[in-house]
């Protein structure tokens, strides 16, 4: 038997240099604001005979968090279950007939109705989206069924370590700001009324300042006519956006432990407030994040995964919501190495803040960001994602075209400065989710500990902690 290992001649070889770069040509965009204020963005992407159409409204869960957390979510869920002319079953059958899938969602800052399907069904897909946006009927029985499902989903979320960690971090970072709430309680869901849903819909599913993005296999002129025909006569008044209280400014690290007895692994999540995409530091923080823990080839992954084997899934990221953004670092680790993991997370943050990034690492990270950005142009889903970012966050018109140039211009000094401003290791908030008995002593090394149960209630500290407090 011939063996590749034995018979291959050992030859030193170097990786080939990169060939000259091919220019990235962004698909031609057609933008138009309809008479009713609806912003329309069309981009042709004709490799496969599909289209994706997403309609976004600029209101989500944050706008109602003070009175009915999750109401935007429940509204979006029930929107797909009936219109004046189509009962639920008809909607689902129409979708199948058009080879389409539908998603209706709400995030913190927006609500959306999105469909993908066959290009040959474009007009039917747009008409269905318009029907859901304009004529949803909120049938009582569908609402009650969805409400019950929401209870069960909430209960499953409350057994998911990643969800509990994220929920707790948002609470401690945002305080009284609406972004603090990522999910309602069961009581809050029980209190929703059909009229509240319909009212949210009436006020926020409106054309003014909303956004329709269509990407796919079509000719832009014909598609624009179709959009005008389907959405042009839609009129609704536009409400004033409310003001939100500022998030707190924490001083000092604090530890927030969410108890999940018997868990065989601890979810670690560390974070601090940072910036939005509209901040001049945005490109810098994206680059710093990719060097720190945002890429496979990053310091955090190299350290706690590839050298130490603490975790499968370390990562860091910047989450830019509309009013505020935050930086966070996460890893699910075995219970014995919670303190060791936190030590390395902070060590790597402090290294970013104190030592300039070497030239080759900087070059590598810039290439990573510019390359991955171009990968996003090659699928319809990627394009929708990039375009919605630009228009929902109201970024400059040339954002996509100039992104790679901005990234290429960044220096080691830029990375150092932005890390000092926004990797706030001294005041970072630490969340650990797991088996208290196995991790409390390790967690307490990093700051005063507050404990919670999986429902989010503060659990009274044990007598020893009271004496120390």
């Amino acid at each position: 038997m011939s063996s590749p290992i034995a018979s291959a001649v050992s030859r030193r070889s170097e990786p080939p240099a990169l060939a000259p770069e091919r220019p990235v040509e962004w698909p031609k965009r057609t933008t138009r604001v309809l008479g009713n204020g609806l912003h329309v963005v069309l981009a042709e992407a004709r490799t496969f005979p599909r289209i994706s159409a997403n309609l976004y409204f600029r209101s989500g869960n944050a706008i109602v968090a003070h009175r009915a957390p999750g109401l935007a979510d429940m509204t979006a869920t029930v929107v797909r279950t009936g219109t004046a002319s189509r009962p639920s079953r008809r909607i689902e059958e129409d979708l199948r007939r058009m080879g389409a899938s539908l998603g209706t969602h709400a995030g913190a800052d927006s609500s959306s109705i999105a469909a993908v399907g066959l290009a040959e069904s474009s007009s039917g897909i747009l008409e269905l989206i318009a029907d859901l946006a304009r004529n949803a009927s909120f049938p009582d029985e569908e609402f009650e069924r969805e409400r019950r499902q929401r209870f069960e989903e909430l209960r499953i979320e409350r057994t998911t370590p990643g969800f509990l960690a994220g929920e707790r971090l948002r609470r401690v970072l945002f305080g009284k700001h609406p972004y603090a709430v990522v999910a309602p309680t069961e009581d809050q869901v029980a209190a929703y009324t059909r009229d509240e849903l319909a009212e949210f819909y009436r006020h926020h599913y409106i054309p003014g300042d909303s956004l329709l993005i269509v990407v796919g296999d079509f000719a832009a002129d014909a598609m624009l006519d179709q959009v005008e025909k389907t959405f042009g006569d839609w009129k609704a008044p536009q409400p004033e956006p409310p003001m939100s209280p500022e998030p707190p400014k924490p001083s000092g690290r604090r530890v927030h432990l969410v108890r999940m007895p018997g868990n065989v692994q601890t979810q670690v999540l560390v974070g601090n407030l940072a910036i939005t995409r509209r901040d001049p530091d945005w490109y810098r923080i994206v680059l710093a994040n990719s060097i720190y823990g945002g890429a496979f080839n990053s310091r955090l992954v190299m350290n706690i995964r590839e050298q130490k084997g603490y975790t499968y899934s370390p990562r860091s990221g910047v989450t830019p919501l509309r009013q505020h953004g935050y930086f966070s670092v996460s890893a699910a680790v075995r219970n014995e190495v919670v303190a060791a993991t936190l030590t390395e997370m902070f060590y790597e943050m402090d290294r970013m803040r104190s030592v300039p990034v070497p030239a080759d690492e900087l070059e590598s990270a810039r290439n990573y960001l510019t390359g991955v950005f171009s990968l996003g142009v090659a699928t319809q889903d990627g394009l929708i994602g990039q375009l919605s970012t630009v228009y929902l966050d109201q970024l400059p018109e040339g954002y996509l075209e100039s992104y790679r140039e901005h990234v290429r211009a960044l220096s080691a000094e830029d990375v150092l400065e932005v890390a000092r401003r926004h990797f706030d290791s001294a005041n970072a908030q630490i969340v650990v989710v797991g088996d208290r008995e196995q991790i409390i002593d390790q967690a307490a090394l990093f700051g005063p500990v507050t404990e919670y149960d999986a429902s989010g209630n503060i659990v009274p500290p044990r007598p020893l902690d009271v004496m120390e407090a």
């Binding site: 030859r11 990786p15 005979p49 058009m98 499902q149 069960e152 057994t159 069961e186 990573y368 699928t379």
Partner: protein, 461 residues
Amino acid sequence: MNSSPSKSARTTASPKSASHLHIPVEHTTLANGLRVVVSPDHSAPVVTVGVYYQIGFRLEPRGRSGFAHLFEHMMFQGSENAGKMEHIKLINSSGGLLNGTTNYDVTNYFESVPSNALERVLWLEADRMRALKVDDENLRNQRDVVKEEVRVNVLNQPYGGFAWLDLPPVAFRNWPNAHNFYGDFADLDAATLADVQQFFRTYYAPNNAVLLMLGDLDPAEAFALAKRYFEDIPPGAPPPRADVTELPQTEERHGEVQERLGPLPAIAIGYTMPPRESEDWFAAGLIDRILHGGRAGRVYRKLVLEEQIAVDIDGGADLIESNGPTQMVTRIYHKPEFTSEGTVAVFDEIIEDLQRNPVTLEELDPVKVKFRSDFYSMLETGMGSHMPRFGLMHFLACFTLFDGDPHRINTILDGFLAVTPAHVQAAARRYLVPQNRAVLFRKPVNLPAPANSLVGKGGAR
């Protein structure tokens, strides 16, 4: 080889006719047995490259559960000219993304990069096909990483591993089909460096693999590069194939496992699928979508919308990517106030209806439209929006390795779109029967009070 001038995958479909894809595909075989498949598309300056080896967790050595997957991790730990982390560093610093996955019958390694990095990617993939250079420390490190992977995906997640890990041991009797694919920790601990090199020699030879290159490339150049970097890698002996045959099943199989975290009882129902590319196999593809196609699918409609027994259902069958016994699996998460036995009885009414009454064209035709649409979506992405054409690559690899013909990508849909109501009924009668299925209950350790105690008729507490 044939070549097509078309720039992209256009179809000539009308809504009612079978569609004809024209995805340009060319292929060749190098002197060492490595198959090479290319599919050009110049719509964006990026390429996706994959190397698929015909070894998956079904084929891993007995008593070494989880080894195929652990080994996949080792392929990132260093090769002759690229040390630990250099694979990842070289791809990321070229502006690309990479990953690998272990499946039933194949293990793949893939990269999406700007097209100017194509040659560099080929150099890397050739380097690790030629020789793996790893040590005990790498193995210890990745064993730890894999254990955390199992914890984060299975042991510490509600419904982790449901049902891809739970159901095979109930459904099948032959070890290759029926063992723990992620691996028992004891088996992972028992793996040695010698095992790693032996596995590499046995299964990672060029004649047991296919190289795929898709996107912004010139086929002639791509073939020349493949030849340059791969052709002098020596072939190996044809690797042994595990016998994956299952003895005929005579009665329904049952199993039960505990759910430590999640609050809802869950059920998995699996039917073993017909042989690859048989008439019943195509019909089964449509049956899957009749039953599971979203909210219009019969199972969701009945169990979630009409009877309101279930909170959620999903289901599917990985037909194209399986080269051995595989099941169509329905997963049902039901309300605690219903029994799992009673829920299965209602599910059975759906199956009986499919056997008793031919599906109408009014239902079947839209199911086919959706099938076609989903197929295109799968080809375009399939693994997130930043791995262009991953799904196309995946199917091309399976058609090459299992059927010897990547061009099936352009004709496979025709088989599904030609299925008639009579085919559906016949296949349902032959395959959706108790002696061809397994039923698994996943029972919560702590059943909560039913949630409807919260909500009275008026919806308030």
